[in-house]
């Protein structure tokens, strides 16, 4: 059975109080009674001795003042049963072989009292004797006092002790209860508050009324909770900041890598290369970029590139095309990865058309301002590639395979502001897009391959 703090304190105090109460109830009255009886016995003995002395003086010196005074004092005592002068005589047998001591009552007060000279004390009377020896007479004074008053006094002591014991017990119980409550209440409040803090509620606060150790504990608890709350707020704030930073990092990473590759890299620490059976690769390049760049201001050159490539980025994003990289003025992207899909050829074609359209618009705009603008060549090919990341520093998502080379060759073989596509792509899109056969053109490593110009969607016509 588990006892609460309040119960423990109450039981402890009650134990002490109970012991004290029992002491008052039993031991103290017993001691007092014994003291009372002892004092009473002594008092009677003293009376008897005084009277005996008075008798002795009266008989030996014929001075009765002492015995008169002593007897007057004794006779006036309401507790007196009787006072007797017992004469003791030595009685010899007729043959004087042995003797006995005989006691006879010489005189008693009150006179009517029937006195047994051999009487002993009992519960009702205390008999005390004091001998005296004179030449005239030997004897003893026997005093008998009633125990009524003593018994009455004893009962009064017991009643008073019982009342006092009860009062002490009640007072002790009250004090114990108050003490237990005063101690346990704040402790229980602390316990409840601590439990809630443990559950995450850092708004807990305990009221401190006392200035003792428990009050100090409460103050320390409140400070602890406040500090915890502050720390948690700081952690939360920091977490938010870190989350934002992570988000930025993720965004930056996603800027570099495809989502799936970035997730794989974050999860496993590496990204495995993957082979894609059918991917459409787009290459773009600005016509005479090198020559024109020499004539342009460096800042403007970068701005132009940024403007164009930003446009390309927005376009390919619409079509879920993955940007691979830019190499100088070349822009490479691929549709159908990292998540394989069936629409990649069409996505690439649509993106290429939009890129060309965007560039043409920009060119018109710039020429209207009297400024030069780039023409773009676009090449697209569909085929298998291997995609992945290589290196440990400044790594990048890249694709490898003949498809990439072919797409690049198609771009370089294209005309300004034209989209040059391969046979494989043509075969896929020919039903929906208008293409023009250009003929066969040599491609390094592949010999001569047919190339087509993508004009637009057949519905555009």
């Amino acid at each position: 059975m588990t006892l609460s703090v309040q119960s423990k304190i109450l039981l402890t105090v009650l134990s002490v109080v109970l012991m004290f109460a029992l002491f008052i109830l039993f031991y103290y009255p017993d001691r007092q009674e014994r003291l009372l009886f002892d004092n009473y016995n002594n008092e009677i003995e003293n009376f008897a001795s005084t009277v005996a002395l008075g008798v002795k003086i009266a008989l030996t010196e014929e001075n009765f003042e002492g015995v008169e005074t002593a007897l007057n004092f004794v006779r006036d005592d309401s507790r007196l049963q009787f006072v007797s002068l017992i004469q003791t005589d030595t009685v010899w047998k007729a043959d004087h072989s042995e003797f006995s001591i005989e006691k006879t009552v010489f005189k008693s007060f009150p006179e009517i009292a029937e006195v047994d000279p051999y009487a002993i004390s009992n519960e009702f009377f205390i008999n005390k004797r004091a001998p005296f020896f004179t030449s005239i007479m030997n004897g003893e004074i026997m005093l008998s006092f009633s125990t009524t008053e003593i018994i009455k006094g004893r009962n009064e002591i017991r009643i008073a002790s019982a009342i006092a014991s009860f009062i002490v017990f009640i007072i002790g119980l009250s004090i114990g209860y108050l003490l237990a409550r005063n101690i346990s209440r704040p402790v229980l409040a602390l316990r409840d508050a601590a439990n809630k803090v443990g559950e995450g509620d850092l708004t807990q606060f305990v009221k401190n009324i006392s200035k003792d150790e428990i009050g100090e504990l409460g103050t320390a608890f409140n400070k602890m909770v406040k500090d915890l709350s502050t720390a948690r707020n700081q952690v939360e704030q920091r977490t938010v900041e870190l989350t934002k930073e992570k988000q930025k990092s993720d965004e930056l990473l996603l800027n570099i890598l495809p989502l799936e590759t970035a997730e794989e890299l974050k999860t496993t620490g590496q990204a495995k290369a993957k082979k894609y059976e059918s991917v459409t690769v787009i290459f773009t390049d600005f016509v005479d970029f090198t020559a024109k760049s020499e004539k342009m201001d460096a800042h403007r050159l970068v701005d132009e590139l940024h403007h164009c490539f930003s446009g390309f980025d927005n376009i390919i994003k619409k079509y879920n095309i993955e940007k691979i990289k830019t190499i100088g003025d070349s822009y490479m992207c691929a549709a159908g990865l990292p998540v394989e899909n069936e629409s990649h050829p069409f996505d690439a074609v649509n993106a290429a058309l939009e890129i060309r359209g965007c560039m043409l618009s920009y060119k018109n705009e710039m020429e209207a301002k009297g400024e030069n603008c780039f023409d773009v060549r676009i090449g697209i090919h569909t085929g298998p590639v291997v995609a992945g990341i290589v290196g440990v520093n400044k790594f990048a998502y890249d694709i490898w395979g003949s498809t990439v080379n072919t797409a690049s060759r198609l771009e370089s073989s294209s005309e300004p502001n034209m989209i040059n596509i391969s046979e494989s792509l043509y075969q896929i899109i020919k039903d929906k897009y208008d293409c023009s056969l250009r003929g066969k053109f040599p491609v390094k490593g592949l010999g001569e391959i047919p190339m087509y110009f993508l004009n637009g969607m057949k519905s555009d016509k």
């Binding site: 009266a58 008989l59 009765f64 015995v67 006072v83 005189k107 005239i136």
Partner: protein, 153 residues
């Protein structure tokens, strides 16, 4: 205060006829009862006197207490007093008064070693009566005691 002297010699002489000669000592026969002038009556017969001295009478006619003054029983006067007035030995007289005192019946007599002290005590204590040797002092008044019946016969 003046003492009232009661010539006991006269009283005792009347008794001489009733006692054997062996009891009579020339010196012992001469006793004088003295009493304080206040309360103590001037005339008492022998029986009354014995009664008073034995403590049987506690108060005088005027209500005052009887105070007995005696010479100690080991003195000649005391001895004679014990024999003639109490008809007891000295020890018996002490026991007699002890018994009375024990029961609170009488105030115990005051015993004196010297007649002068007794005389002075009686003179200054109202209600006091004592027994002394015959006083031949002419300056002191003596009062004749009432004769007994035998004397009157």
């Amino acid at each position: 205060m003046k003492l009232v002297f009661i010539n006991l010699a006269l009283v005792l002489s009347l008794f001489m006829n009733s006692f054997e000669d062996s009891f009579i000592n020339t010196q012992e026969t001469e006793l004088t009862i003295v009493g304080n002038v206040k309360s103590v009556p001037t005339d008492m017969d022998l029986e009354q006197l014995k009664s008073v001295l034995k403590g049987e009478r506690l108060r005088w006619d005027d209500g005052s207490k009887v105070v007995i003054a005696l010479m100690k029983t080991d003195t000649p006067i005391g001895l004679t007093t014990s024999k003639r007035l109490f008809n007891m030995t000295g020890n018996q007289v002490n026991k007699h008064f002890l018994a009375l005192v024990f029961q609170g019946k009488v105030k115990a007599p005051t015993f004196f070693d010297s007649a002068d002290e007794l005389e002075a005590f009686v003179a200054h204590t109202p209600g006091a009566i004592g027994v002394l040797r015959k006083v031949n002092d002419a300056q002191l008044n003596t009062i004749l005691v009432v004769k007994s019946k035998s004397d009157q016969d």
